[in-house]
């Protein structure tokens, strides 16, 4: 059982509630989508991986079925008093997260730290949002259900976008096992003369950006292109310094992140949460920066890592 299981359970509860509301609205595909996801979240630790994978494919199919519209459950909102500001609890979330994370890191069990850095951060965030939710409900004298049901409604608006990063992470794993990295390496060897350091740098940085745009995540692109191009051709082949090549190579991947709808949690979810008219507004605003940074990164790798 994963040490993060309580967090998964809490996530599953929100999903189950949305599934239940979809059921009440008579929407079978939506009900099944959220219910299966919730079950996978809670029970994946005890199921054979192949069954989890099958469940995930089922979720994919369910997401493509026509889903009914859900009407808003809570229509009346009490107007907030002008003197009290909700900015304070909003700012409390990141502050509490940091504080709780630093505490969680020090928790030990039989002389061993209980949580690694990522887990401590996740627990910090989970506890801080629950605390802020509870404290805000208490201070503003509204039922905690208002926040919960509103959150479920936001999840309904997000829909599949909320779990797309997860699907992409699984895609990266399959791509790696299917041998895509080897293919990339072979192609670059064919297309780029092996003695041209600059073109290899361009191929690596550009490849990181493009792969990240397709896969939505620089971490998925990094092993494919670093094993394919950076290590064999640049570092071993040309004697480039490893640290600047891979560090700035990762940064080149993030340039791709700025320019792709596949990085849903950065580029789509905020646009939906803020109810922007144009879903691609975030990407349009970021693309020039991403392109400019990519060019700078290519030059940086070339001039910083090139052997003297």
């Amino acid at each position: 059982m994963s040490v993060l299981w309580p967090i998964y359970l809490a996530i599953a509860l929100v999903m189950l509630r949305l599934g239940w509301r979809r059921f009440s609205a008579g929407d079978q595909a939506g009900t099944a989508f959220w219910t299966v996801l919730a079950i996978l979240f809670v029970a994946a630790d005890w199921m054979p991986p192949a069954v989890v994978g099958g469940g995930l494919l089922l979720v994919g199919v369910l997401s493509a079925l026509p889903q009914g519209k859900l009407e808003t459950l809570i229509k009346t909102v009490q107007a907030s008093e002008p003197r009290t500001t909700v900015l304070r609890p909003a700012l409390l979330i990141p502050l509490l997260t940091v504080a709780l994370m630093l505490i969680a890191k020090t928790v030990q069990w039989q002389g061993q730290p209980l949580l690694d850095a990522t887990q401590a951060t996740l627990y910090g965030l989970a506890c801080s949002v629950l605390l802020v939710w509870w404290a805000t409900s208490f201070t503003w004298r509204v039922s905690p259900r208002l926040g919960f049901e509103s959150g479920v409604e936001v999840l309904d608006r997000l829909g599949w976008a909320a779990v797309l990063p997860l699907a992409l992470a699984t895609l990266g794993a399959v791509f790696a096992k299917a041998g895509l990295g080897v293919l990339v390496s072979d192609l670059v060897r064919l297309a780029v003369p092996a003695d041209s350091g600059f073109l290899l740098v361009v191929a690596y940085a550009l490849g990181m950006a493009v792969f990240t745009m397709v896969m939505g995540n620089a971490f998925a692109a990094f092993p494919v292109l670093s094993i394919g191009i950076a290590v064999p051709l640049l570092i071993q082949g040309q004697g480039y310094a490893a640290a600047p090549v891979v560090a700035i190579g990762m940064l080149s991947g993030y340039c791709g992140t700025l320019m792709t709808p596949m990085a849903a949690n950065f580029n789509l979810v905020p646009a939906i949460l803020l109810e922007l008219k144009d879903r691609n507004a975030v990407i349009k605003a970021q693309a020039p920066t991403g392109a400019a940074l990519l060019i700078v990164n290519i030059l940086l790798i070339y001039f910083l890592a090139k052997p003297a």
Binding site: A44, L56, A79, V86, V142
Partner: protein
């Protein structure tokens, strides 16, 4: 050279270009790529399942929704706007530089894995959108 694994990439790009359901497109791309790369179906399902279990934490965004949605209901956006309006000579720099400085400090403390994701963004992003309106910046059409 074995071109078959790239078939999944083609499926992914074609599916997105044709605006098919992204979840289904992504998962089909994995399935196609695995089969074309010579993996057995059970192998692919195992890989999918393991990757899902390992990366479940990516969905922590969902857990933040009750708090965020509650604050929105109580008027977070209006309050952010009022806050910005109260600043003397609001400008992108005056809002963004402190915000980015705070993000940098948080990252230094080790908040790297989540500091960039959506729950950390709404307040500052709304502020920027509002700024865009007041400064009649060209971003205004996005807001």
């Amino acid at each position: 050279m074995d071109f078959w694994p790239a078939l999944g990439l083609l499926v992914l790009i074609a599916g997105l270009a044709l605006r098919l359901q992204p979840m289904l497109t992504v998962l089909s791309a994995g399935l196609v790529s695995g089969l074309a790369g010579g993996m057995s179906l059970i192998d692919i399902l195992n890989t999918l399942g393991e990757a899902f279990s390992r990366n479940r934490f990516l969905a922590i965004l969902i857990l933040t929704l009750p708090a965020i949605a509650l604050l929105e209901r109580l008027g977070l956006r209006e309050h952010a706007e009022r806050f910005i309006r109260g600043l003397r000579q609001p400008s992108f720099a005056r809002v963004l530089i402190p915000y980015l400085a705070i993000r940098q400090i948080f990252a230094m403390l080790g908040l790297t894995s989540i500091a960039g994701s959506a729950p950390m963004l709404p307040a500052p992003t709304t502020s920027v959108c509002f700024l865009a309106k007041t400064c009649s910046w060209r971003l205004v059409r996005y807001c």
